[in-house]
Symmetry: C2
Subunit: 312 residues, 2 copies
């Protein structure tokens, strides 16, 4: 029987580390043309909602196939299933059932962007947002850069206090709740924007030269947490899936700007086919959209290690 | 966390009984237009094979959504996954992982055909084939008719002996291995044909008046385990999915015969919209093709009962 992991198995600190290495692998495969990630497929169940399938895997050495599925039905429990088979042996290698893997995967994608785009000596992070995605993005960032200070802003004081206390304990570094978004980002080497805001939450003028920004929240032309000024200020703009930026129901937030044309694929940077930052004071921006196939690779590695970090 | 069942949970005698009631429910829903069963969806992983998704569920009261997925990769272990959500609460209700549910579901579909099409006083069964499908078809048949004798034929003597010993023990009635297909079917009220034969294994002339036949094996115009003579002799021909008979890559075995046009949907018989047999001596034929959505309903009921029969 295949290894089955649930949310409680993904709660240990090493899960994110494993996911980050899986995403690095996925990006390398994508750069080499070995990542399978066809368009999404969804089936409607009348007015109740849809089942949405994201299928993906790798070809080449140690090839795998799998999928993620989730329902859009109304309810509190939003359990997803990710499954992965070896296409070499036909064996079902693992299943991950629950709601945590999606956030962990997105956190790990953010970490790969930070690893390959931010300044290697980045030490301070500014976070806008205090939800689950803000937590996993920051946790992942701390695994790829030696952060020594974090500032967080979100609209509700209690939320940013809770976030700070929790993350300070988790990361072992000072996490300070601040009363304005400007104060959160103005001294940051890395900015994580993970809100549900439909309007820009910061201005390019507030940012330090050399900053790297991850945007995880809304990114359509009508609703976006970052303004066009931030994109215009960036020397390098990347995304995990150029196809996905063009496949949203609403147009991508940069689609009416000249900056859309210079957006590049993160996998090309990871694979060394495109240069990352050229100078210390360059601004870099990563637009996270959710590359298909990444959950499958993450699940494979998590199942192989039983959710624990590999020895040595 | 959802209930997860594997092959060993499906090994008890009550599993088939639960599956049969699930299929009865599926047929009633289909007859009422409340079964969701869109076309299959498959994604290719290069030369290694495909992942094939059959999505389905019900609308109306206590609505559910789910899917079955299997890989066509080369290997010994062919584990499928079936998952079911309540579309009312968004809760993932259950998962069945393994290779047994497919056969059990097909056995249960066969039992529903026998329940609604065969003579109520059918007592003897003739089986051609001694594989897993032959076992589950016979086990299911014995749950809907009071069988008192079974004869089985398959090409290899050892296989039919093993089948007989095993099924005699399992069903508690005499199961006799016989040396010719004619001897297996000539006195049978119910004939189960579950082979991999590409050419007809019996002749219509061998069959008793009033017989009901289930054909589970090959059914394309070039490869079929039953000849056109059997279909021509049948007063009533039904299938579980008329759509599927038209969706095979190769044409259905009756497609060049005038009998194709009189084939009816089993759900219409179950739902009382079409009459079943009109007289004791009529011959009836059921062509099993695998109705989408049936695995999802079976999994729902199995998960709800934990694989054990409901009390009372």
């Amino acid at each position: 029987m295949a290894i089955i992991l649930s949310d409680s198995d993904l709660d240990c600190g090493t899960t994110m580390q494993i996911a980050i290495e899986a995403i690095e692998e996925a990006m390398a495969a994508r750069s080499a043309g070995a990542l399978v990630s066809p368009p999404r497929h969804s089936v409607s169940f009348g007015c109740k909602g849809d089942l949405v399938f994201t299928v993906g895997g790798t070809i080449g050495e140690d090839p795998i196939a799998g999928f993620r599925v989730y329902g859009t039905f109304k309810g509190l429990r939003r359990e997803q299933i990710v499954a992965v088979w070896s296409t070499e042996t036909a064996e079902l290698q693992g299943l991950v059932i629950g709601s945590r893997l999606g956030d962990i995967r997105t956190g790990a994608i953010g970490a790969i962007a930070i690893r390959h785009m931010s300044s290697p000596d980045a030490r301070t992070a500014g976070v806008i947002g205090s939800g689950q995605q803000a937590r996993t993005q920051l946790e992942a960032a701390a695994l790829v850069r030696r952060l020594d200070r974090v500032r967080v802003y979100s609209r509700h004081e209690q939320n940013r206090r809770t976030f700070s206390a929790e993350m300070e304990q988790r990361l072992g570094i000072p996490v300070e709740p601040v009363a304005s978004p400007r104060r959160a980002v103005s001294e940051a080497d890395i900015v994580i924007c993970a809100t549900t805001s439909r309007t820009p939450v910061m201005e390019a003028a507030w940012l330090k030269p050399g900053v790297h920004i991850n945007t995880v929240g809304p990114k359509t032309v009508d609703e976006h947490e970052l303004g066009l000024d931030v994109a215009a200020a960036a020397h390098l703009i990347a995304t995990d899936s150029l196809e996905q930026t063009q496949a949203y129901k609403a147009p991508f937030f940069l689609s009416e700007s000249s900056d859309a044309a210079r957006m590049v694929d993160l996998a090309a940077i990871v694979g060394g086919r495109l240069p990352a930052r050229q100078a210390r004071d360059q601004t870099t921006l990563f637009c996270s959209v959710g590359l298909a196939g990444t959950e499958v690779l993450a699940s494979k590695l998590l199942a192989a290690t039983g959710g624990k970090a590999p020895a040595g």
